[in-house]
């Protein structure tokens, strides 16, 4: 593993970052607003107002009353992200092509794309460039990840933050300087901001360290020396003050509010994680992940068995196996974070549990790259240079790469803009998922799928019955995606259009429309792969 990344790898990472952010920017106009994102944006607006006041009249802005007003609605913190989103909105407010929604979503899109670049960088360092590309694209092309990468306050932002934290931590183990230790601390503070159960990553760090350095650790402990990574100290001691300082809500009654924040992460998570993972991550990526995990564990076991004396802490902690083991532990910790945090962003009824497991997906992609590397090695071993010309060997490796990415690419492109309703062939695709009664799309998000219909069919000033999704509709209107004259209403009486989005146990809402409109015939049905997602009734 090289200590310094090659400039060409950095260039590829940068290219991935810009390209993925660009694709997200181009495709964002078709992505709807979930109920949780609408709530997130409302609180971001309050933070934006406060930021404006802070610049104009700092003394006034720092009054408790103003701080409470701006940050009161922030049950989940995301303070850095909200400040960035508010700043983005302010900066882009006079740019004609940038809608308010685009401006708010720009920082999370850039952050999501950064995650793709980081995955490439890490896998390139630990494995090789080809594996780095496979890792980055494996993650980028997971349909639900691509869908969530557009969204503000989404679990994808949490996933990338956790990934950054792990990367900085591994680098801090390799180098003796303070730079990566401080970076780990900063990333950990950011993680605590976005995930109340983010502290569980420390458990992964401890398990990772003890498994690699257990013997040395106990030997040193017997000599009354505590040998632990320096990053632990910074994470344990300084991250909580960091959270307190970076989240103005905690500047008053910090203990009670911190307690309430941490308590918000206890309960039962929605959905079955294994069914949802198998149903949303392309099967080939999961097979590669399993292959990579097994290969990685076997390599680690082999290293232990054949090392006569314990390796020096720096050599083993900086080995490729160290990163690979951390990927595995971090993936497990990410699942645990969700199990303990059903109230995290995107885990509400709208998401139906489809998004919340994304935290583990970067590590799946990294271990999938390990699996891909193993397959390429096996290919190379069985096609010696005497028999197979080097050019054919290279083409062969390229073909393997294409074979593991073509499926995810086709699935990802096909899933747009139905990212929440996409399911892999493992569960039978969208029809199979419908048979299983799995989540399709949240009612708020699905309004974007009907915007063209409303714009083309509704007469001037007509009203649309939206008992729960008026705020999401107003966001679309603000972005210019639905006509200004269309009016949302929470009263069914007098409304001219009534959309219904399928979700488990919500049929009563549709029956109410049948009863009131006197029809069971929808005027328009938006379906994905033959599975109706949202349909709208018109009063006749």
């Amino acid at each position: 593993m090289s200590d310094r990344p090659r400039s060409s790898d950095l260039g590829i990472a940068l290219l991935l970052w810009v390209a993925y952010a660009g694709v997200l920017g181009v495709t964002v106009p078709a992505v709807g607003y979930s109920a949780s994102e609408v709530g997130y944006l409302q609180s971001t607006e309050a933070v934006g107002d406060w930021l404006g006041l802070l610049i104009a009249a700092p003394e006034q802005a720092l009054h408790r009353e103003m701080i409470e007003k701006a940050w009161a609605s922030s049950e989940t913190c995301f303070s850095a992200f909200k400040l960035l989103a508010a700043a983005s909105r302010q900066l882009l407010s006079n740019v004609p092509w940038a809608s308010p929604g685009f401006a708010y979503r720009l920082p999370p899109m850039v952050w999501g794309a950064f995650g793709v670049a980081l995955i490439h960088g890490w896998a390139s360092r630990v494995l090789n460039r080809a594996a780095g590309l496979v890792a980055a694209l494996t993650f980028a092309l997971i349909p639900v990840a691509f869908s969530q990468a557009h969204v503000a306050g989404s679990p994808l932002s949490i996933a990338v933050t956790g990934l950054l934290c792990c990367y900085c931590y591994v680098r801090s183990l390799e180098r003796s300087g303070l730079g990566w230790v401080l970076a780990t601390w900063g990333a950990f503070v950011l993680l605590l901001q976005v995930q109340p159960t983010g502290w569980l990553l420390v458990v992964a760090f401890v398990a990772h360290f003890l498994l690699l350095q257990g013997r040395t650790f106990w030997n040193q402990l017997r000599r009354r020396r505590l040998l632990v990574p320096r990053a632990w100290l910074y994470v344990a001691v300084f991250s909580w003050p960091g959270l307190l300082a970076s989240w103005p809500r905690l500047w008053f009654e910090p203990w009670q509010r911190l307690q309430s924040y941490l308590d918000s992460g206890v309960g039962a998570a929605p959905g079955n994680p294994w069914v949802i993972t198998a149903g949303t991550v392309p099967g080939i990526s999961l097979v590669l992940f399993l292959t990579g995990t097994v290969g990685s564990l076997l390599t680690l076991l082999h290293t232990w068995e054949h090392s006569e004396a314990p390796e020096s802490s720096s050599s083993i902690l900086s080995s490729a196996s160290s990163s690979e083991l951390l990927w595995l532990f971090a993936a497990i910790a990410s699942y645990a974070m969700v199990e303990l945090n059903p109230r995290g962003a995107g885990s509400g009824p709208d998401a139906g549990g489809v998004n919340v497991w994304i935290g583990a997906y970067p590590y799946f992609a990294l271990l999938a790259a390990r699996g891909f590397d193993g397959v390429c090695r096996s290919f190379a071993e069985n096609s010696s240079a005497e028999v197979v010309p080097p050019l054919i060997q290279r083409l062969g490796r390229l073909a393997v790469g294409v074979s593991v990415l073509a499926g995810p690419l086709v699935m990802c492109v096909h899933s747009y803009p139905f990212g929440q309703a996409f399911y892999t062939p493992v569960v039978g695709g969208a029809p199979g998922a419908a048979n299983l009664g799995l989540h399709r799309t949240g009612s708020s998000e699905s309004l974007a799928l009907l915007s063209t219909y409303f714009n083309e069919h509704a007469s001037a000033g007509q009203t649309i019955y939206l008992p729960r999704d008026i705020a999401a509709f107003e966001r679309l209107r603000e972005d210019g995606r639905v006509r200004e004259d269309l009016q949302p209403t929470s009263a069914i009486g007098g409304s001219e259009y009534a959309p219904y989005t399928w979700a488990p146990k919500t049929s009563a809402a549709e029956y109410r429309i049948w009863f009131d409109y006197g029809t069971t015939t929808p005027a328009e049905v938006v379906a994905h792969d033959g599975v109706p997602i949202v349909w709208v009734y018109e009063r006749r």
């Binding site: 029956y511 069971t520 328009e524 049905v525």
Partner: protein
């Protein structure tokens, strides 16, 4: 030949297989256009009173959009059960079958587009002689509240406005999370006893989320609600389902609603309906009564005099 050196080939193989599977599955389910194109074949196959069932049920909105009200009406969708249909046409995709039609016998099948249309006949057909939910109108029924001393008639009104947002929200069974406002019966009998209430037809979701059309008939405070239907043909059985609805604002108190049926002045059945159990089927034998027609009276009474929301459907078969 040793297999192990070639195991790596399984990965590209799986990748290609998944891609092919994805393409196949993405194009497997029928589209709205396909449903529209089979409408003519459906009409040729079905008889006027046939039930039309679409499987899988999740594809039904496409069929409803393509076929319109005539083939999949609200009345058909909110059926009590399939036993009162002599025939049915099952329109199925993805080789699925409707479990409720399992006892029907296939007499004809047509494959069109990616859909299979099967005409089925019901060997256990029992015709409905009288559907009470279809007769909630002043020329067929009377509603009154008995307070122990006198019966006060409930007045029939046709409301013009259609806003039911202000209606009480009910959290019955599976609807608990949603707490939908009750679909508002428009033609209704308004009772002005101890507390104003009304009787009329509404539409609710069963625990399995199937629609149930039923007569909203709240048990009055310290009284009995009576629904009188004139000239009902007498068959073999009075069959239906009933549910006690729980207001989201009220704490469950474990009380029941007593539901009784009288035919020609003779009580044929009484059932206590508990809360939180969804719709409960009832079946009262009337075959021992004299043939012809008679008045049928339903009584609804809250246990210990408490007023309770209640909804039921009944058919004479």
């Amino acid at each position: 030949m040793a297999i192990r050196p070639w195991l790596w080939l399984a990965i590209p193989g799986l990748g290609a297989l998944e891609l092919v599977m994805h393409v196949l599955l993405a194009t497997k389910a029928p589209t709205e256009e396909e449903f529209a194109r089979v409408a003519a074949q459906l009409d040729r196959l079905r008889k006027p009173d046939d039930l039309v069932v679409v499987v899988p049920a999740w594809s039904e909105p496409l069929a409803r959009k393509a076929w319109g009200e005539e083939r999949l009406s609200l009345f058909v969708r909110s059926r009590m059960d399939v036993s009162s249909y002599a025939g049915a046409v099952e329109v199925s995709a993805l080789d699925q079958r409707a479990p409720e039609l399992a006892s029907f016998e296939e007499v004809q099948r047509v494959r069109a587009e990616r859909l299979l249309l099967r005409r089925l006949e019901n060997p256990r057909y029992v015709p409905s002689l009288f559907v009470f939910t279809d007769q909630v109108r002043p020329d067929r029924m009377l509603v009154g509240e008995w307070n122990g001393e006198a019966e006060r008639d409930c007045e029939f009104v046709r409301r013009k406005d259609t806003d039911s947002s202000a209606n009480p929200k009910f959290s019955r069974g599976a609807e608990r999370r949603l707490s939908e406002p009750l679909p508002d019966p428009q033609p209704r009998f308004v009772c002005t006893g101890a507390k104003a209430s009304f009787v009329g037809v509404t539409l609710l979701a069963e625990r399995d989320m199937r629609p149930r059309r039923c007569i909203l008939a709240p048990a009055p405070f310290n009284g009995v609600l009576r629904l009188r239907f004139a000239q009902v043909p007498i068959g073999r059985v009075l069959k239906g389902y009933a549910a006690r609805l729980e207001s989201a604002q009220h704490v469950l108190d474990g009380t029941h609603v007593a539901f009784s049926a009288y035919v020609g002045g003779q009580r044929v059945g009484r059932q206590a309906i508990a809360a939180e159990v969804g719709f409960v089927p009832f079946e009262f034998a009337v075959q021992h009564l004299q043939r012809g027609s008679a008045e049928v009276v339903f009584e609804v009474e809250g246990e210990r005099g408490a007023g309770r929301e209640f909804c039921f459907n009944a058919e004479m078969r």
